[in-house]
Symmetry: C2
Subunit: 454 residues, 2 copies
């Protein structure tokens, strides 16, 4: 009371603004909060970009959870188009530059780094050609949409077989463009085991996406400055428009320049309270920060909106006198490639072995509803467990409508370190429109349990 | 080995046949298994009957998981149309009567009671009129369908607001019949808290079902021997066809006659291995048996196919030398009333207080997918927790497509005795087609957690 602390937030997206909003709600006038955002949007859903590009979401405004004006009404001093160029951690000051190039300095009591991640851009010949895009920000999305409209491409190529790659391929298919997905790994979705990734490959092909695996992009051919093909070892794949989705890396330049520790790629290392440097009052959260994987115990970088939001809340609470842990991640993920739902959580078969578990896996085939109920679609569950402790280690699900959200049952089982027997006998919901009498994850748990009997 | 044991199974539906199939698979020729079923079907999904009556499932054969012939091919001697009339437990013998009235006796080494449950039929004037049905067996379902076809009813009345009542009301609406649901309790679905039940009431009315609450049926008027109205305290409700769905009770007459203990209504009391009388080698499972509620610790009777199947497997394994527990239930349940999905697990607000918890509850309103994603529908989550321990105690969910299956996340949290903080921070799946960035159950957990702060 009386001593009004100043918090400076670097980055106006999910993590930074969740932290700011949480802290402001708890501390009110005791805190002055200034948030610098170099772009023109706050608190938006980057995960929604593929659906906007695909025409399922009409406007980028729909993806904005809270506008700068809404944040200001809640007492947060949001400065748009302002880039933080330097952190002087010893002097507790940031230097910033606004969109007119005017520079200024701002002191802080607490500094929140929420600088996010940026798409990885490989140093390949021709990568600067027109028609080559990323899909990381709303501005990126607008450029892809404008390009679709202006150049009416016949052939699209998506480079990268991760979530963004799959979702952008789906977007192009929705827009009626012939689409090829090229990926370095042996199957799309290298976060899945290869057997499950192989099914994703088949599903994409069924939905009209051409897939070329084990085909890293080697460069881009162009005509008149505009991309005309993606070159791989085997072939030049015609491309009137290209989206790169080959991963992101933490944007941690300010942090490293200020002497903070980075790891797991270049992500800022924080403790479980989201403190990057407690002595110098620096915090970090979201896509720029590392976290730990609860299954492997490893430091990891998992840039996802769900973690960014939760970490922001944890940070905002701890900054205002609470003591809350961000408890780590399971690497749960879910996506939809046209008509196929895909989800994973925890460790894959190889990852489990790498982490020192005595891993066993089963894959079962079943249906999303009771087999006799209209709309029942095929689905499969791969479940991984430990032979010695019988602990559930991970799951991968692929199938029709309603398949993928079942991953949360397994995620909750992993969270509480449950055994396959716990999962097999848990009282899960059953009615024919929703499930067979043994829920699909329990069919898998039952099969796995019988394999674990010594 | 060598001494071939004989197992007699009374009842050829889920629990009995799951036990028989499990035991046979494990013990092979060491076991002779004879199953007596008084009806004409084995291993069928009673839960599917409303969807068959509603025209969504074309044939009763679709509801049969395994026919008598399929069981026989697996080495189980299934005798159809044979009723067990007496158990002489001291002599280890059952007396049976076949469909021709021929009686015989059969000795056993192990006896499995899987006699199921029967619909409760109140002793009301006119209840024997033509056109009044239950919906418990496939034969019941056939009678309702035949009656629909032959009498082309204009007005249907469903008596009872539980799952069967709601689902049968939906069936009649699907068949184009004007439908009224009458229920004794103040809201439909008395297993929900009244505030959530009130929403079910509204949803039913929106979908064209007339609902009369606090209206116990007092009798049935008839014309020429056929039902013409259901009489309540307030009114006589025109009815050309009636389905009674006012609950079931365990069919435990053979058990009580043999001196076995019953409780929780008239359900057969078993230990966690499904043994009803270990000394006399009598076992029980499924809708005829009691179990315990993991949240309240109470003995309960929860006649559901999912428990029947699991108990059957537990029984079959223990009968053949394994040692496995059926770990009890959470009273998880799910249903669909036309366009509205409904689910519950664990304790309601009042039930939590009754069980001695220091209960707090929140209800949150959100959407089934990211709000901006096409097809996002409203949903609400009521979450109950304990103020002292912060343990999650129960949840009730109502909403559009994709809402209800989220109950399994909470069920898994209850199973592992997780706190609201565990649930709030668990790494659940997020992508716009599936969820908002905070999953609906985590929105509720976050709201509840903030209420539990002292």
């Amino acid at each position: 009371m009386g001593t009004r602390r100043r918090v400076v937030v670097v980055g106006g997206d999910a993590a930074g603004m969740a932290a700011a909003a949480t802290a402001k709600r708890r501390a009110g006038d005791d805190l002055e909060i200034i948030a610098f955002e170099r772009g023109s949007w706050t608190s938006y859903s980057a995960c929604g970009i593929p659906y906007w590009v695909g025409g399922e979401v009409p406007s980028p405004d729909d993806l904005v959870a809270r506008t700068p004006e809404e944040h200001r009404r809640r007492g947060i001093d949001v400065r748009m188009g302002v880039e933080v160029t330097h952190v002087d951690a010893d002097d507790a000051t940031v230097r910033v530059r606004d969109s007119d190039g005017v520079e200024s300095s701002h002191g802080y009591d607490e500094l929140i780094l929420a600088t996010g991640a940026e798409p990885y851009l490989p140093d390949l010949p021709g990568i600067d050609s027109a028609g080559i895009h990323t899909a990381h920000t709303l501005d990126d999305g607008q450029r892809v949409l404008d390009d679709l409209l202006e150049s009416s491409p016949r052939h699209a190529v998506v480079v990268g077989g991760g979530y963004v790659g799959l979702e952008m391929a789906e977007s192009f298919v929705h827009q009626g463009v012939e689409t090829t997905l090229v990926t370095r790994s042996g199957t799309p979705m290298s976060s899945l085991d290869p057997d499950v990734g192989g099914r994703v490959h088949e599903a994409l092909e069924r939905d009209g996406v051409r897939v070329r695996v084990s085909s890293p992009a080697r460069g881009f051919a162009s005509t008149g400055g505009r991309v005309s093909a993606v070159e791989t070892d085997d072939a030049a794949i015609p491309a009137d428009i290209v989206v790169l989705g080959i991963g992101v890396r933490a944007r941690s330049g300010l942090a490293t320049a200020a002497g903070l520790e980075v790891g797991a790629g270049d992500a800022i290392v924080v403790d479980s309270r989201q403190r990057a440097d407690p002595e110098r009052h620096i915090w970090a959260a979201g896509d720029c920060a590392a976290t730990h994987d609860r299954m492997s115990g490893r430091l990891v970088h998992v840039p996802l909106g769900t973690h960014a939001n939760k970490q922001g809340v944890v940070l905002g609470r701890n900054l205002t006198g609470d003591d809350v842990e961000f408890p780590g991640v399971l690497a749960t993920a879910i996506t939809k490639a046209c008509s196929t739902e895909i989800a994973r959580t925890g460790l894959g078969e190889q990852g489990a072995a790498d982490a020192g578990f005595d891993a066993e896996a089963v894959t079962i085939e079943t249906t999303t509803r009771s087999g006799y109920y209209p709309g029942a679609e095929p689905m499969s569950v791969k479940l991984i467990g430990d032979r010695t402790t019988r602990r559930v280690l991970g799951a991968q699900i692929i199938g029709g409508t309603g398949a993928a959200m079942r991953i949360d049952t397994v995620a909750m089982a992993l969270w509480s370190e449950s055994t396959v027997d716990d999962l097999m006998f848990a009282d899960l919901a059953y009615a024919p429109p929703f499930s067979s009498v043994w829920d699909p994850v329990q069919v898998a748990a039952r099969a796995l349990a019988s394999r674990l009997v010594s």
